[in-house]
């Protein structure tokens, strides 16, 4: 199993506020090659689930395993390396570094992993930009790209280190319908061509059709899943 969550609970306890139980005893297994769409209302725990899978937040209890390795038994260095090499992330919010060009943003994960030499990394980043249809924008800064183009660059960046897992958090929620369709088709194409495992939080049920499997969440639990 590529990703396993075992009886995971996540409680957020901000100072001077009531604790919030975002994930409530959730167990889930994602086999290699799956394209999972996660649906649910706002506050259902979808983003927290994705963050748990990426090791971006520590579970209050339970275990998160990636390729059988318990994420929270690893030190920061090992956990960061695993994130860098095995997981690609597409965020809901604009996440490109404004001081870097599109090409530099795509190549950024290589800065931390150093899998490729400088020139090789640039070639790979260029190929990925070509794949998402932005060859002519390689030297453009994020402020000169549309929201849809920025999200394509983010997708390219997520694939830079050839990850096993692609986690996408409402990657199309800020886009118009046509751009949303283009991005979703891009995910489908990437899944088909690379076989990467995709776990994607979606905001509308009609987007489920792009995935091979869907999960419905509510109150930090899985309500249903095919």
């Amino acid at each position: 199993m590529l990703i396993s969550l075992k009886d995971v609970v996540k409680i957020y306890a901000p100072a001077k506020e009531q604790p919030v139980r975002a994930i409530n005893g959730l167990s889930l297994e994602v086999p290699r090659g799956d394209f999972v769409a996660i649906l649910g209302r706002s506050g259902a725990g979808k983003t927290t689930l994705l963050n748990l899978m990426a090791g971006l937040t520590r579970p209050t209890s339970g275990e998160v395993l990636v390729e059988s390795a318990n994420l929270w038994s690893l030190g920061d260095r090992e956990q960061s390396r695993l994130r860098n090499r095995k997981i690609g992330f597409v965020f809901q919010f604009p996440s490109l570094l404004p001081s870097l060009t599109a090409l530099e943003n795509v190549a950024l994960p290589n800065t931390f992993g150093k899998r490729l030499a400088g020139d090789e990394a640039r070639v790979r980043a260029g190929q990925l930009l070509e794949m998402v249809g932005l060859t002519d924008k390689r030297n453009a800064f994020p402020r000169h790209l549309s929201a849809g183009q920025q999200q394509r660059v983010v997708v390219a960046r997520a694939l830079m280190n050839q990850p096993d897992i692609l986690l996408a958090d409402e990657a199309t929620s800020n886009l118009d319908e046509q751009t949303e369709q283009e991005i979703m088709t891009l995910f489908q194409q990437i899944h088909a061509e690379t076989g990467v495992t995709i776990v994607m939080v979606v905001h509308s049920s009609y987007l489920v059709r792009y995935a091979t499997r869907s999960i419905q969440m509510a109150n930090g639990k899985i309500l249903s899943g095919d």
């Binding site: 957020y12 983003t47 927290t48 963050n51 990426a54 971006l56 937040t57 520590r58 920061d76 260095r77 960061s80 390396r81 994130r83 860098n84 090499r85 992330f89 965020f91 919010f93 996440s95 570094l97 404004p98 001081s99 870097l100 530099e104 190549a107 950024l108 994960p109 800065t111 931390f112 992993g113 960046r157 280190n161």
Partner: protein
């Protein structure tokens, strides 16, 4: 793209944050260096002047101590006299090893008979002198002949002239003493015989004759025998010869030392306050900048950056700015002190000597280390907090 380049890009992106840190480092380092150079230069100058005199005690006519000290330090000529018999009286004291009289003279102002206006001329007795004579023996290999002189660092023979004209008599400049940063650098040293020759010749060659009162001297330099305290010998001299003031070496230039110490205290206090304020400002600015970038930092963590590299890249950003600002401040400050050193001396009425190159490099290195340490202290809390913040929480905030 590496982490260093990433830090540079972030610096260029956030102009307000970058300029604030740069300017804080610039002002603190520049101000600290300028003040350090001035205070240290003045202290060093006083020490060298003391060494140049080479005496344990300086005896001057009563009430003229301030005038003499000012002359020696600032190079303004003075005209003070006391009976020559003072020398014999002091020499009889068993605690006194040697005593040497001096005459303090001045050239005329804007007179054709003098090459340099209002120049401080010190005449010494080659028979008893223990301050200039050792230098002459070492450098010249002999004593000065009549009509010869040596000068302070900045004394020179006017171009095309055979010597320096004093009251119509030319004296040949035989060499220059090392700089002290005091008035002694602009003073001319001649023997008693030369001084009396000039005075005799001046009656016919100068617009105004050089007056040296008969059997009079301006000051006497004393060395005490080993085992005797200069302070006690000074008191004994003043008791036995009431018309003179004896200033022992540590007390010499005391008013200037007090002035410098007072200035140093104020400078250090202002500097400490400025440093604390700068640390607070940089901390505040950096905290704001890091908060504004919390999502970006979370993204970097999601892409595989470790806590350690986040911490060090933030520290590197701040230290790059501090290094740039600090170096600019230090360089500009050193240049300003060098260019305006004469203005400093005249406006502060203090002696001043530029440090040697190794001393300057040492001070610059200390200065830049202090700036880097201060900025590191400032950014430590926000950098630590940013690197430790859970990425998911940072994205939610």
């Amino acid at each position: 793209m590496n982490l260093f380049q990433l830090a540079l890009r972030n610096i260029s992106r956030n102009a307000f944050r970058s300029w604030t840190i740069f300017l804080c480092a610039f002002y603190i380092s520049g101000f600290a260096l300028a003040m350090m150079l001035i205070v240290h230069g003045a202290e060093q100058s006083l020490d060298l002047a003391n060494q140049r005199l080479g005496a344990d005690i300086l005896v001057v006519p009563n009430g003229s101590e301030q005038k003499v000290e000012t002359s020696l330090l600032m190079g303004n000529p003075t005209n003070v006299w006391m009976p020559r018999e003072v020398v014999e009286k002091i020499a009889r004291l068993p605690e006194v090893e040697s005593i040497s009289p001096q005459l303090y003279l001045a050239t005329l102002t804007n007179a054709a008979c003098c090459s340099v206006s209002n120049m401080f001329v010190i005449a010494f007795d080659p028979q008893t002198d223990f301050t200039i004579t050792p230098w002459l023996e070492q450098r010249l290999g002999r004593a000065l002949n009549p009509g010869e002189a040596i000068g302070g660092m900045y004394v020179f023979t006017p171009p095309g002239e055979e010597g320096i004209k004093i009251y119509g008599t030319f004296v040949r400049l035989m060499g220059n003493l090392e700089p002290t940063g005091t008035g002694l650098d602009r003073a001319l040293f001649i023997s008693f015989d030369t001084a009396y020759d000039i005075a005799r010749n001046s009656r016919t060659r100068a617009v105004e004759p050089l007056q040296i009162p008969d059997n009079s001297i301006s000051a006497a330099l004393i060395r005490v025998r080993r085992g005797n305290a200069a302070q006690i010998v000074s008191m004994k001299i003043e008791q036995q010869i009431p018309e003179v003031t004896a200033i022992d070496s540590p007390e010499l230039f005391l008013s200037y030392r007090n002035q410098i110490n007072g200035l140093a205290e104020i400078v250090w206090m202002v500097l400490a306050i400025a440093l604390v304020l700068s640390i607070a400002i940089v901390d505040l600015i950096f905290t704001m900048a890091v908060n504004a970038r919390r999502r970006e930092i979370a993204v970097l963590r999601a892409l595989g950056s470790t806590r350690r590299s986040i911490f060090f890249s933030l520290l590197a950003e701040a230290n790059l700015l501090a290094f740039g600002g600090g170096m600019a401040g230090l360089a500009l400050s050193a240049l300003a002190v060098y260019l305006f050193r004469n203005l400093l001396v005249s406006s502060l009425q203090m002696p001043f000597l530029l440090p040697s190159l190794p001393e300057l490099v040492f001070v610059l290195a200390i200065g830049i280390l202090v700036v880097l340490a201060a900025v590191s202290i400032s950014v430590l809390p926000p950098a630590l907090a940013a690197s430790r913040r859970e990425p998911a929480l940072a994205m939610r905030e």
